[in-house]
């Protein structure tokens, strides 16, 4: 962290975060989007807010070289994505393949 951090940075981060939170809430409340469109929209809002808070609250951009914090963060993000997406991929696949024939039929006839 450097000396350039001021109240203004925090106010900007706070306002942006509030806007992003309320918009994400409104998107779900209105119910206009569904399925994958909604999933991707909500994930996008969360990731943008993550970036806003990393920059405006945790000042990751103001770090001096060799930027160890950023490196540690990037490595953590990679491991985290492998854990989360890998679990979802394997478990959904397993879920699909071990489903008995009756359950598949039940799925098709409402």
């Amino acid at each position: 962290m450097s000396e350039q951090v001021t109240t203004r940075t925090y106010v900007a981060g706070f306002i942006l975060s509030i806007i992003l939170t309320l918009t994400a809430f409104k998107v779900v409340d209105d119910g206009l989007l569904k399925g994958w469109g909604l999933t991707l929209t909500l994930i996008a809002f969360a990731v943008v807010q993550l970036l806003v808070q990393l920059l405006f609250f945790l000042h990751l951009d103001k770090e001096r070289k060799p930027r160890q914090n950023l490196m540690a963060f990037a490595f953590m993000a990679m491991v985290l994505l492998i854990i989360v997406l890998g679990s979802l991929w394997i478990m959904d696949n397993l879920n699909y393949h071990v489903m008995g024939p009756e359950e598949i039929i039940q799925d098709e006839i409402p």
């Binding site: 109240t7 706070f14 939170t21 309320l22 969360a46 914090n69 540690a72 989360v84």
Partner: protein, 188 residues
């Protein structure tokens, strides 16, 4: 590397490992989100306005913690106490609201014993709540020390680490708000 940036980096590494802990809990929740086993599903038990209130409270507390660090760096003890005091009150209301939510769920027999979905929900959200509670204790200790010994360089550094922890908890909450509550209510 001086002493201050060493401790900042060490604490940052801790936060990254904590992120992985939450990542595993998120993965568990994502896998089990539809495993309701005859119990209630997410859209039946969550109230979005209530969660929005929790979210705004925690977000505001993250903001006031940041202002506390700015005040500490400016050497203004009174303002530092005020901003961290406000952060404490907001954090405390957040935990109170969460305990209230959990108690209501358990009262309606939607406890963690009902289904895989509820087990993973309680584990994920309560682990976050536990972190916030520990953060509150830490804040209380730092504020008592600040009141007694004044705004020394060490005190300022500790407050900066606490604020980092607090911002990190708010970042985890963004994803709880999105993945658990918003997507749960939208039946994704």
């Amino acid at each position: 590397m001086n002493e201050a940036s060493k401790s900042t980096f060490g604490f940052w590494i801790y936060l990254m490992t904590d992120c992985l802990l939450f990542g595993s809990l998120f993965a568990t929740f994502a896998v089990l989100r539809n495993a309701t086993f005859g119990g209630p599903s997410a859209d039946e038990i969550f109230s979005l306005p209530f969660v929005l209130l929790e979210t705004l409270i925690l977000l505001t507390s993250s903001f006031t913690a940041g202002l506390g660090v700015v005040a500490a760096r400016a050497g203004d003890k009174r303002k530092t106490m005020m901003w961290f005091g406000l952060t404490f009150l907001l954090g405390f209301s957040f935990v109170a609201l969460e305990i209230n939510e959990f108690a209501a769920l358990v009262r309606e027999e939607h406890s963690w014993r009902v289904s895989g979905f509820l087990t993973s929900f309680f584990t994920l959200v309560a682990t976050h709540g536990l972190h916030v509670t520990i953060g509150l204790l830490w804040m209380l200790i730092l504020m008592v020390r600040l009141y007694r010994t004044g705004l020394t360089a060490v005190a300022g550094r500790r407050l900066a680490l606490l604020a980092m922890f607090w911002h990190f908890l708010d970042i985890v909450w963004i994803f709880i708000f999105t993945i658990v509550y918003l997507m749960g209510v939208a039946k994704i």
